[in-house]
Each structure stands twice: as structure tokens, then as C-alpha cells.
Amino acid sequence: MQLIEFTEEGLYVPQADVYIDPWKPVNKAFITHGHSDHSRYGNKSYICTHSALPVIKHRLGSHINARGADYGEEISVNGVKFSFHPAGHIIGSAQIKVEYKGEIWVASGDYKTTPDGVSEDFESVKCHSFITESTFGLPVFKWKAQSEIMSEINEWWKSNKEQGKVSVLAAYSLGKAQRIINNVDHSIGKIFTHGAVENVNEVIRRQGVHLHETNRVIQGQKQSLYEGSLVIAPPSAVDSAWSKKFKDFSSGIASGWMAMRGTRRRRSADRGFILSDHADWDQLVNAIKATEAEKIYVTHGYTDIFSKYLSSIGYYSAVVDTEYTGDELNTEPIVEEANRATSA
């Protein structure tokens, strides 16, 4: 019996009868983070970090049976020791360490190893088997420093402002939006947000995290209010009629996919900023090396290529089919999350 098995419901720890980030409803789910492909509806109980809990409740409904844990806190289930360790992906995101009779596995969910000023900094956990994503598991993906990308965004915003334009920036509403809000140059102007972003902001502020001041875009407000400001919205909204409410605007997208000219052109935004909440090639390879694991399971992204590469440098590596997407552009639900929370 493997400590973690790959089943139709999700990653399964049979000794504890616990699932990690299951995609079908189960009794006991340990959740790495609040993105919708990792925390889904219908589980009887949820355990995640204290800082991930508010967003998960916001998304899935406050009635769910969910509890929080501290990073590093040990939770024993039938002799199996579970603990959460920062994954650096978004606020509250964790790698889940599973230990039984001296054998250690780590399911890392989604992660990045460089600090972003908002999420808890990634922490490397030594283990025997490591389950990794590979959303950007190709050597063409090499991120620049966050400060460099933020100055690109600042430049763009400034130049739009000088031309009297609104800067509409597409960014995932949970994670990247807050990262941008806190790291851009606030002296340039005001920041407005789409409802989906602002709802998440409210939840995050309530849990005591400092976010720079933002203003919700409300239907029917005067055009002049937005002039020269930065508007942050989910990619689906920027593509839709929603953005038409701004008379004269320049559109941008912040995503790791913007590293490729092809995907950048397909999105037909004015500007692409290469900013991702996932690890790039070097981060993936270095993170794996740092775990000192022998066996590497690759769950989503360029799995076949990345796994083949790991095999070529001496790891035992296998591709595991999951329903995680890790995709930053194509999967965020269009429905505003607040509506879901009340109807769930």
C-alpha cells in the first residue's frame, strides 16, 4: 500500500482515510489552497490553514464543516501525521506533509518559491516522495524579478494616465490581484477593482491582512472617476462587455503565459506582463532538488515533458492524472464568487 494513492476521487491516504484536494466529494478533505480546482464543493469536512479558511468559506459557503490549522501544526489521523507548510502560491496556500512510520510524502498543490510580499514565503520540506505541479514546466519559462515586472506595470499605468486612459489589468482574483494591489506604485493613482476581486479583498482584509486601498467599480458611476486609475479584474471580465464601461482604456494581462508571444497575441490585450503565482522552470527543478526526494509525481501542466526530464536527471518520476488545472487564463469561473457563496 502506497502512503498516498492516486484514485478517481483524488490523492488518497488510505491509512488515514483522508483525501488531499479531492475533485469528487469525500468524507475528509485536506485542502492545499482556495483556488477552485483544489477546493471543491461537497466534502463532508475540510481542513486547511487558518489563513486559507476565510476565502474557502467565502467561496463554498459559511455552513461548510471546515477547520483551520497553523502552519507546522501536527494533525494525527489513525497514526498518520499531517502538517501544512507554506507553498508561496497565494495567501494561506500550503504544501501538505504526510508522514507514517518514518516515510514522508509531500503534496505541494500549486507553489512558487520566490516571495511576493503577500503570501507566506515558500518553505522547503524534505521528503521521500514529492508530488509537484508543472504548470510552467518548460525551460522557456523563466520569470524576471517581481520588482522588474511591477515597474513595467507602473510605466504602463503612468503612460496611460498621461494620455487620459484607464488601465484595465486582468489578473486572477484570488492571489495575483492582491499581489499587484500591494506592489504597484501607489503614488500614480487610484486602484479600482471588479466585484469578484473586491469580494476577495474584503475577506482578506477581515482576516487582518493589510491591502492597499481599493474601490469597487460600480455600474453607472461617472467616467471621470476612473480616468488615470488602475482597474484590476479577472481575465474573463476584461474579455467581456464588462470592460466596455470604460470609455478610453488600455488593457493588460498579468500571467505567466504572457512569456510566449503566441499566447500573448491570442489574447489581443495591449500589454502582457509576465507575472505568475506558479514556479517557473528553475524554481520547479530547484524545489524538487531541495526536497531530497527520490520519487517525483507530476500532477498537472506540461507533465509528460517535465517528468521525462526528471527521469533523465536520475529521478524516479511518473505522471499522475488529476483534475487540477493550475491554468491562469482559461479556468477562472465567470460567475462572481459572492453570488455562489449565497446560493451554495
Binding site: P139, V140, R261, S268, I305, Y309
Partner: protein, 529 residues
């Protein structure tokens, strides 16, 4: 290189034509003349002669990026562009270079006679002194293919705006053969009396596909119809006793079709004819495939001349006795054309006959017969239309025959590359043969982005097996596949090869049990092959 990289970035970052033109004007106003000539050349698909093979570029960049070659190739497949893949994979620059675009081009051209070691050290030196954007452009100088969404028209508009010279004059000056290594900006663009160039073609007039109801064209009397021939659009120039043949891609192809050269001796007037270069034998056009076998070749062999003989099927007359007659109405040009073709009297130059019709219904019936004539449909031209430049709506329309279609099930999906790098976008389709599924075509265009996204999600959940970037999937999704032609093939499992296959629509309404069969496919082959 920095100025050119800046220009390229500006062009690449906007979809607005006005913004592109103003970026070009700004570049023309600030760049060195030599760089301007090269910029025009590169954006109109000219590049320095390749002095380093792409195989070597791949090896060196993989080595520099410390990656196995297979991983480089996988990355290239997904990125979809060699120059870009190399730029992304090679390490960040360690130095800064002040060399200009034309200086870098000189460096590349001088590599021609150098040995491999010199080539390698020169290229690696270049990679380590250029930033990522510049590296990409440097690689493009070698590999070619600057796809930046900038049309020839925008370049001409920008040059016109910058120089104050009429667009039509600049269009003419940029056409034809010129060598960016020797020509100056003055000679290319500004010179008011460019050396008399007998070979200069006129811009082609291209038609849009008919997008309105045929009845809306009004009185059928006002329109002239011809078959739309399936060859290569060309311009035959007979001036001053010389013969030139241009393809629509502004490429001089005279030497590829030597069997037409004798036409220059058959007429003593200067004329320019717009027509189709058509493979043709015994009074009938041949399949387009036969022409394809010879256009890619550098040298024409006797076998080519025998297997794929060509004629010019004449559509229009643009110049008569040295006079530009494009502004005259079609009916006048047509009658001059008819007379000219008759006088030349050769079986290598035929008049594209008019299709007679009294009503749109009659023409519609003629259109349905297109495949009998190995033609793609009907061309409609207003009898009083002038010969315009470029693709214009209104006076000329192409009215293609409806494509052939078949319903098939998807059995393989492959990750896309380039614009569709994060989606599954290349699919293989099968028809039924009893319990068996027989793959018969691939197709990757025709769906909306939202549909690609939906299918990508579905593929991830319905994968049976993986073969690198290809996934075999549960045979469940049914699509209607459209194609223009069909031919027997020994290279395909199904025994047929399709021309221009694409996805017409996703048949969500159709269960997989109701897809077409191999027998249906063979019937289409028997009728239209």
C-alpha cells in the same frame, strides 16, 4: 538593434493599425537610412541569405541553456517559433551591444564562408550581448518569418506619411526585385525617377468571398461571371520583348515556368495580363497537386514540364500597348483582352471564358457544377468595375462552391503551439467501419477559442493514453469536417487525402453512433475524386 527592437515591441504590443503606422513613422524619422531599408525588407519577407543552419542554432542554444536537445525540441514544438524558443532558452545577456540592425546583418552575412567554429563563437557572442527581445530579432534575421501583423499596406502608408510621396507610387517602388544590401533608402523610396523597370507588376486586385445573398447584387445583366480556377494567381508581363511572370505573393516566378517564355515573341505591344497559372492538359485543368510538385523546386526538370505543363488562363488586361488601363471599365478591358489573346493565338494562353447566365438561379446551378470543371466556384465581376489594388469589397466577389462535409469522431488531441500553446487544438478524426474507427484526417481550425477551452477541459478528463504531446481520447465528440477536395492516397490508412480540411462545427447534437462511415467517404471519393 535597440531602436529596431523598440519598434518591433511597439508593433507587437498593439492591434491598432493607426498605432502601428505611427510607430513606423517614428522609426523612419529617427533610424539610419541603412536600417530603414532593412526594416522595410524584413517586414516584406526579405531577409539576408541564411549563413547558419537552424540545426546548428538548435544545438548551440540547447548547449548554452544546458538542456538536452530533445527538451529543446519539445519546447520549440510548444512555443511554435524557433527564434523565440532560442531567445527564451539562452541565458540572460552579460554585456550590452550598441550595434545597429544593419551592422548585425553584416555580421550574419559575413559568416557565409567561415568555418563552423567561427560561426559558433560569433553567434554565441551575439546571444550573450543582446537582451531577450533583441536576441529574438537577431535569431529572426537568420531564420526569417517576421510575423508581426504588419501588412505591406501599413508600411506603405507609413512611408507615404513620412516622405509625403503618394501611396500608389511607393507601392510600385517597393514591388519587384531589389536588393537591400545594395540599394539605398534614397533609391528605394525617395528617388522620383526610379530606373525604368520593365518587370514591375501592378498590385493584384483580390476579391472577398461573397458574404451577402446573391440576389442583393441586383441586376444579373450588370455582372460578368467566370470559373474560379484552382492554380496560382499570376501576372504575365510582356514588355520590350521580355517575359516576366509574377505570382500573387509578389514573387518573380518567370524562371519556374520557362515554357511560357516564348509568348514574348508573339506580340509587339507591351501588355500585362492578370490570370491563373494553371496546370492543364488536353483541354482540361489538372489537379492542383500536380502544380505543387514543381513550384517548390529550384530547377525545373524535363519531367516537370511533361507531368505538370502549365498555361495562363487570362482573367484581365491591366496594360495595353504600354498604357495603364486599370481605370477603364471591365467590359472594355475584357474585349481588349479577348482580342489580344486571339492575336497571340497560343494553346499556352487561354481566355477564362465567361459563364453565361440570365438569372441568379441559373448561375447558382452553374456554381454547383464547379467541381466538374475542376474549379473552386464562380468569380463575379461588375462589368463597369475598374481594376483596383488589394483586397476590396463591392465590385468583385468570389462565390465558392460549398465544401464537402462529413461527420466524424475525435480520437486524438494534440496540444497546440504558438497562439494556442496552452490548449489542445490539433485533432485527428475518424469515420466508422463496422466496429472499427478509421482515422482519415487531421484538422485544427474552425472552432472558437471558447470551444477550444471547453474541449481542452474535456480532453484532460477523457485521455486514454499519452504519446508525448498527443493524447488518445475516448471517441465521443462528433464534429462536422468540411473540405474542398478529395484524392486517393496510399499514404493514409483510410486511402484518401483531403484538401483544406477544417472543422465546420461541433455536433453536440449528434451521438457518436451516427457518424459517417468509411463507405460514405469512399462514395465521396468516387463522385468527386
Amino acid at each position: 538593434m535597440r531602436g529596431f527592437a523598440q519598434l518591433f515591441k511597439q508593433l507587437d504590443q498593439t492591434t491598432k493599425t493607426t498605432a502601428k503606422i505611427s510607430a513606423l513613422v517614428e522609426y523612419f524619422s529617427t533610424a539610419e537610412d541603412k536600417d530603414k531599408v532593412w526594416a522595410i525588407a524584413l517586414f516584406s519577407h526579405r531577409r539576408p541569405k541564411r549563413t547558419v543552419t537552424t540545426t546548428l542554432l538548435r544545438e548551440w542554444s540547447a548547449e548554452l541553456g544546458d538542456l538536452p536537445l530533445w527538451l529543446f525540441e519539445e519546447s520549440y514544438h510548444i512555443v511554435g517559433d524557433l527564434a523565440e524558443t532560442i531567445a527564451l532558452i539562452t541565458p540572460q545577456a552579460t554585456k550590452v551591444s550598441e550595434k545597429s540592425l544593419s551592422e548585425w546583418i553584416d555580421i550574419i552575412m559575413r559568416l557565409k564562408d567561415e568555418d563552423e567554429a567561427v560561426k559558433k563563437s560569433t553567434i554565441i557572442e551575439a546571444w550573450s550581448s543582446l537582451n531577450q527581445d533583441e536576441r529574438f530579432l537577431f535569431n529572426k534575421l537568420i531564420t526569417g518569418g517576421f510575423r508581426v501583423g504588419i501588412s505591406q499596406k501599413s508600411i506603405i502608408k507609413a512611408l507615404s506619411k513620412y516622405s509625403g510621396i503618394e501611396e500608389s507610387k511607393i507601392t510600385h517602388r517597393l514591388m519587384g526585385t531589389w536588393d537591400p544590401t545594395t540599394i539605398t533608402f534614397e533609391e528605394l523610396v525617395l528617388a522620383s525617377n526610379p530606373t525604368e523597370d520593365l518587370s514591375k507588376p501592378y498590385p493584384f486586385y483580390l476579391a472577398y468571398a461573397l458574404d451577402i445573398d446573391i440576389d442583393q447584387l441586383g441586376d444579373p445583366e450588370a455582372w460578368s461571371a467566370e470559373r474560379k480556377w484552382d492554380g496560382i494567381r499570376g501576372q504575365l508581363i510582356l514588355r520590350g520583348g521580355a517575359y516576366y511572370l509574377w505570382s500573387r505573393g509578389e514573387e518573380l516566378v518567370s524562371e519556374k515556368f520557362p515554357e511560357l517564355a516564348f509568348l514574348k515573341d508573339k506580340i509587339d505591344k507591351d501588355i500585362v495580363i492578370d490570370g491563373e497559372i494553371l496546370p492543364y492538359r488536353d483541354g482540361l485543368p489538372l489537379n492542383f497537386n500536380t502544380l505543387q510538385t514543381r513550384i517548390g523546386r529550384k530547377n525545373v526538370t524535363k519531367k516537370h514540364l511533361l507531368d505538370a505543363p502549365v498555361i495562363i488562363m487570362a482573367y484581365d488586361l491591366l496594360e495595353y500597348d504600354g498604357e495603364d488601363i486599370r481605370e477603364k471599365p471591365l467590359r472594355i478591358r475584357r474585349s481588349l483582352l479577348k482580342e489580344t489573346v486571339q492575336n497571340i493565338d497560343s494553346d499556352r494562353l487561354l481566355l477564362s471564358e465567361e459563364v453565361k447566365f440570365d438569372s441568379w438561379d441559373e448561375l447558382s446551378i452553374e456554381r454547383d457544377r464547379s467541381r466538374e470543371f475542376l474549379s473552386e466556384g464562380i468569380m463575379l465581376k461588375h462589368k463597369s468595375s475598374p481594376y483596383k489594388s488589394g483586397r476590396k469589397k463591392g465590385d468583385w466577389w468570389k462565390w465558392k462552391v460549398d465544401p464537402l462535409t462529413i461527420d466524424a469522431v475525435m480520437i486524438y488531441a494534440q496540444r497546440g503551439h504558438g497562439r494556442r500553446a496552452n490548449l489542445y487544438s490539433d485533432f485527428t478524426f475518424a469515420v466508422a467501419d463496422g466496429d472499427r474507427l478509421v482515422p482519415f484526417t487531421k484538422a485544427y481550425s474552425g472552432l472558437k477559442d471558447t470551444e477550444f477551452k471547453e474541449i481542452t477541459q474535456w480532453v484532460k478528463k477523457n485521455t486514454r493514453e499519452r504519446f508525448g504531446p498527443v493524447s488518445s481520447v475516448n471517441p465521443e465528440l462528433v464534429f462536422e469536417i468540411a473540405f474542398e477536395g478529395i484524392a486517393k492516397s496510399t499514404r493514409h490508412k483510410s486511402g484518401v487525402a483531403l484538401r483544406f480540411p477544417r472543422i465546420k462545427r461541433w455536433r453536440k447534437d449528434k451521438p457518436k453512433e451516427e457518424i459517417n462511415t468509411l463507405e460514405d467517404l469512399n462514395n465521396i471519393l468516387a463522385n468527386f475524386g
